[in-house]
Symmetry: D3
């Protein structure tokens, strides 16, 4: 039985990952291949979950991943991943991906995702993660929305 | 304005992809790295969408992707992707991933996903895809469930 | 000494692998790099050999691999691999590769190959595989041709 | 003749890149393969140079790259790259790599590097970059050290 | 119609490629994945064919590829590729792969292969390559054997 | 305490590595991505150090790496790595990279590098390498220059 670790102050910095879109990352349309972005998102989110829980983590699900704008070869990609809500052994991670034209400096939102990870112990069994206490209005709101998303999701995928 | 192509008989075969899990696909726990599976799923789903629409397609979203069982190095992975419901320019693709122990022959469900693709013309603008008419009870049920999922999803991610 | 496992009914389904040709798979001419196709063929054939023998397998040789038509970036590639003849510890695998223009739906034969694998036990020693009994005229003919190929090959590479 | 772009305030944020060491990144000793770290350093530094110059950039040289501590599989790697000194068309980038044990949270310096990039215009010709004016004592000291390094280097590699 | 370029002195040096077997190259048995070796062989052979013909070349076939000894992670691999016989537009390349234990210095033959390439002009049409005149007994013998192999092969794969 | 192995005759052949620049190796400018060349250089140099010391080796530093001319997609790259000077447990490796237009046969120097490796025993501790005795004027001069480089370098990076 997993017991809850001592409560954690909510301020922990997001994981920042910056990448350059090389020709080897593209699809036949000259924009980034979806699988490459998914891979980057999974890594950034896993690091965020590991930093929060200080344990090994495994990806449970992608709850939402939306490509907002295509990302072109030669662009810089900036990925931010942070814990948005926490269960007993699981963590929801919010990931924001921006793409930046390195020459003009203009950047646009490119992809938005929510993933769920579970912390596992040395035997691969789920283990408790520190409790999460939102420290300001923004974090409280985000936590509440995560709860609504989770319910709607459970509802949506009964079918 | 995109006009709807002529209606398509609903029977089209799923895309089948078989892969072998090599050490280069693994994470530090010796199971497959999430990003590798996501990449395979994205490719299989894109091919299914392209076969249905006979046009270039771009990934719009992963609506749901759930890792059911971990996949070990040396295992065979079998991916099935097929169109499950169709909008005017978009297609929902259902993807089922099984992992198989090549020695015992036992296989287990590993991952389940729904992705949405949009068909694009030569200028990258969304273009109409053939209408989808379910031809039996199973396909009708699947289409109805896709509709429910879509609504619940829209609801869930207002937040 | 390896003893022959019990005889197997000859009907086992081919391994099907579907891939999308990305820019990272190409050579400087814009067609697929030979080594990428060879890698896919080796994996599909290894899975077919493993499924037949229910043991670990190692590639012994490529007996024939012919590029019939070049494969272009953006095309879909469909690979079929199946056991075509069986020795005491070895299996010949026949592999057919087709490329498909995803927009027009037209497909062409792209590559044809025969590979030989040997089944190995947990110490890496060759071990017996189930005997193969062709169940119809087509399978009998294929087995006979495999035998002729094997002899001519041995003859050819004495030099 | 390249004319100098308008002077830039020296405060620009470093490029932050975070990576997870996967088995596919390792050498036969189970630590990260040098070429993988070099690749990450080159990308982070190129993005820093591009952000500063707002132009395409090419790597001219690695002036110094020192592996301080080995990086193990499963560790998180954090890369910081920032402009440390600026010539007329060239920029020296300072890169610091830390590795972090994700479970204990302990981090160590792993690699330190200085690279030189040159800004190029659309014809691939070197072009002027904004002048750099250090805004505090730390930046002034760093710039002076860069100058000493550069001289000693030119001296060192006459041979 | 392709006219034969002026005859070439037969002495041209083989292509030498040296590689280190990293964990990312292995299969689940800890030895090198067949597809990786095939990729290296294809590249080395293509360079040899290109050097001989001074034109673009495409892989036509692998006529023979035999894995003699398995190659372990951490080993050094040495690949030699050279033209062994020449047709009007095609070249047979002989490839020898050795693996070396870097610690003991012992090396063993690992793989042997013959591939056929065809020279192509800027429109992708086959074009003539320089005639090959063996300059010593060894080269004459090799050319004769290539001719025998070619005939036996044509015979073998009629079936 | 590491004791010096018996002195080695200075004649040992350089490591030769030949590669073909594929589209997957390029940056957004159509020339080779710096990280790819660095990876090849690190591997070639590591093999040279391992061959000299007959032990496992780890990269300590890149002391100098200069891109002289850009390398284009489709070109052949030839890498030469050899021991240039030897300490008690460390070895300096000199690496020369040439790029060759496969059609014209013209080749140019592309990159020049010096790297330092240290030999390690089975516990990862530095261990002695054979002493190096230059056997001719060229080797003596090279060794002396290495010594000057080493001093200037230590001087340069005190800052």
């Amino acid at each position: 039985m997993a017991k809850t670790k001592k409560q954690k102050s909510s301020s922990f910095s997001p994981v920042v990952m910056t990448e350059l879109v090389l020709p080897s990352h593209t699809n036949a349309l000259g924009t980034i291949f979806g699988g490459v972005v998914m891979g980057w998102i999974d890594i950034a989110a896993a690091i965020a979950a590991q930093r929060y829980s200080r344990s090994q983590v495994v990806t449970v699900s992608i709850d939402y991943l939306h490509f907002i704008n295509p990302i072109k070869v030669g662009y810089t990609v900036k990925i931010n991943a942070q814990v948005s809500s926490v269960g007993r052994t699981s963590m929801e991670i919010e990931v924001d991906v921006e793409s930046e034209n390195g020459i003009t400096g203009q950047s646009k939102p490119a992809t938005k995702a929510y993933l769920t990870f579970v912390a596992v112990d040395e035997n691969g069994k789920p283990c408790a993660v520190p409790a999460y206490s939102p420290k300001n209005l923004h974090e409280k709101k985000r936590q509440k929305q995560a709860e609504i998303r989770r319910k709607a999701r459970l509802e949506a995928f009964k079918y």
